[in-house]
């Protein structure tokens, strides 16, 4: 092979089996954009919604591929496949599948369907898959940006509406700003190690040594990386963008934003703080505890006065991130990853279900404001019952599945000694029940507005009743969830890495 980069081809072909799902997503996204959309399948504007079918097929194939990827470390110790990577990759792909399902034409959430919409979802998903397995600050940074650049465009997808563009612009400016902060933090950490490494395992050893005499450098570097990641999961005080962006984006994209990028960012959180900065936990524990507590309080309190269900769900997702950060704080990274993964899995189903109901009502022009839900128990009994199940799950009321996610994560936090935070979490959960039940009250105890009610089409009925059934059936298995996931080894023990050696002699 070419002599300008000796060993490049060998290294690539040696490790390529770790990233087949990512390659599949990217290549098929590219093919969709160029030869297929323009030449081979020149569907008219009215037919473009058919792109959802190949997109779905590709996502399902990559889901299967990512489950069967062998564990290991590759690409100069920059990318790793282990329980954490696979677990969160499955969540991200599932969330993308749901997003494509919710974008269907019958639901009427998108004004216009284009091949680009589906291709961008595929690109962003491949970015998320890279995020889940990235074990080097270089790969972490670039995979986050690969995901973010696609999402900026998807948020502004409804470009005929001023709200859509505005949301996209806000998200882009704040996202670019936070990525500038995070990159500078990475460069400070790189400087603190003397310009040797950005690999998380090596950083873990090096930072523990240098944090004695270069503590300002290490401290500010760690804090800046923390700020960058908090922007991505929308934790208080870096949450300002999220209600506006959730409000302005097309609703299927909002449902996706609340789950997929969060799952991927939490995987990065667990990876960075569980392995990379584990030895210097005294540097980041206090700030992260503050962020965690503030997210739970502000997310839940601000949700109370929201009029629009979309914004309410945005604030509640800030609060849910606060709960999940409790798992990141855990000193036992293994148990933390397990609790966060379980919470995210349950949250994915409950949240997508609630958004599906919202999208259906929006598509029928029944509105997204909480008053618009008045009397839904009479108008749409199936929808109202499903919404009840999803909302009670989100609130974490005992028999429902959401309770188990909260229970495991709070239990872990108590075991790790974060009692104050758990008290805050319990109190704010009670607050959250208030605003979720407000919607339930509107649905069942208010008189419906006058007007014709369209019967539900079979697709929406299928989607919503399946999600509702999953949540209800899951409830029965709640107590076993922790036992079933006990066998997953979230962090593989490191084999000594074979690092490509370059030097500029």
């Amino acid at each position: 092979m070419p002599s300008f980069a000796p060993g490049l081809w060998e290294n690539l072909s040696h490790d390529i089996h770790y990233i087949w799902p990512h390659i599949l997503l990217m290549v098929s996204g590219l093919l969709m954009l160029w030869p297929l959309d323009t030449w081979l399948l020149p569907w008219t504007k009215a037919e473009k919604h058919k792109w959802a079918i190949p997109t779905m097929a590709i996502l399902v194939v990559s889901l299967v591929l990512s489950i069967y990827t062998p564990n290991g470390l590759g690409f100069s110790a920059m990318y790793k496949v282990d329980g954490l990577a696979k677990g969160f990759q499955v969540l991200c792909i599932l969330a993308s599948i749901f997003a494509v399902m919710l974008s269907q034409k019958v639901l009427g959430a998108l004004v216009e369907h284009t091949a680009e919409y589906y291709a961008l979802i595929l690109f962003a998903t491949s970015g998320m898959l890279f995020m889940c397995g990235a074990v080097d600050l270089v790969t972490i940074y670039f995979s986050i940006e690969l995901m973010a650049l696609c999402i900026y465009i998807l948020v502004a997808y409804l470009r005929q509406q001023e709200r859509g563009i505005e949301a996209g612009m806000k998200y882009f400016l704040l996202g670019a700003f936070s990525s500038g902060i995070m990159l500078f933090g990475i460069s400070l950490l790189f400087a603190a190690t003397g310009g040797i490494t950005t690999n998380l395992t090596e950083l873990n050893q090096k930072l523990a040594v240098v944090s004695q005499d270069k503590s300002l450098l290490v401290y500010s570097g760690v804090l800046m990386v923390l700020v960058g990641l908090c922007f991505k999961v929308a934790a208080v005080p870096f949450h300002m963008w999220s209600p506006d962006v959730y409000d302005g984006a097309p609703t299927p994209i909002t449902a996706w934003l609340a789950t997929a990028p969060k799952a991927a960012s939490l995987a990065v959180f667990l990876r960075v703080f569980g392995t990379g900065f584990h030895s210097i936990s005294y540097e980041w524990e206090a700030p992260l505890m503050l962020i965690c507590g503030a997210s739970m309080i502000l997310g839940n309190v601000a949700a109370i006065k929201q009029q629009s269900l979309k914004r309410l769900l945005a604030y509640s997702s800030i609060a849910h991130v606060g709960y999940m950060l409790l798992g990141v704080l855990s000193r036992d990274a293994q148990a933390g990853a397990q609790a966060v993964w379980l919470y995210m899995l349950l949250y994915l189903f409950m949240n997508t279900g609630a958004f599906a109901v919202l999208i259906y009502l929006q598509g029928k022009n029944e509105g997204e404001r909480i008053e618009d839900f008045a009397g839904m128990g009479k108008r749409h009994p199936v929808l109202a019952f499903s919404m009840l199940v999803f909302l009670l799950s989100l609130a974490g009321i005992p028999p429902f599945i959401g309770f188990f996610g909260k229970f495991y994560i709070f239990l872990l936090a108590v075991e790790q000694g974060f009692t104050t935070l758990v008290v805050i979490a319990l109190l704010t959960s009670a607050v959250s029940a208030f605003y979720y039940l407000e919607v339930v009250k509107q649905m069942y105890f208010k008189e419906p507005a006058e007007g014709e009610v369209e019967p539900m089409d079979s697709y929406s009925k299928f989607l919503i009743s399946t999600a509702c059934a999953l949540v209800l059936v899951g409830t029965a298995f709640g107590p076993q969830l922790l036992k079933w996931t006990d066998d997953i080894r979230w962090f593989e023990k490191e084999a000594p890495a074979v690092v490509m050696e370059f030097s500029n002699k």
Binding site: V138, F142, E145, L149, Y152, I153, A156, R159, E162, R163, I165, E166, A167, G168, M169, K170, F172, L173, A176, F177, S179, G180, I181, L183, F184, I186, S187, L188, F190, A191, G194, G195, I196, T197, T198, L217, P243, D244, D247, G248, Q306, Q307, S308, R311, F502, S503, N504, K505
Partner: protein, 100 residues
Amino acid sequence: MVSMNAVLLISFLLWSVGVAGVLIRRNALVILMCVELMLNAANLNFIAFARLSGTVHGQAFALLVMGFAAAEVAVGLALVVALYRKKGNIQVDEINLLKG
């Protein structure tokens, strides 16, 4: 050889100018430029410390960051153009439809 503290000082100043610009300026294009300044401040650190340690890891990172910055500008300018077509100006103060 320049002292590494001087490099850190310069890059921190450069980064602070970028941050201040993002926070103070109200024109979306100028904000975009200030973000570039922040990224380049980080690049300066990567290159200087890669030179110090004699490895190419940091230099490769800096090159990739430049590529990313170009991609980011492509997306950002597209959004700015869309915003301009819709509103007729690109002042971020006037982006205020969504609130609450």
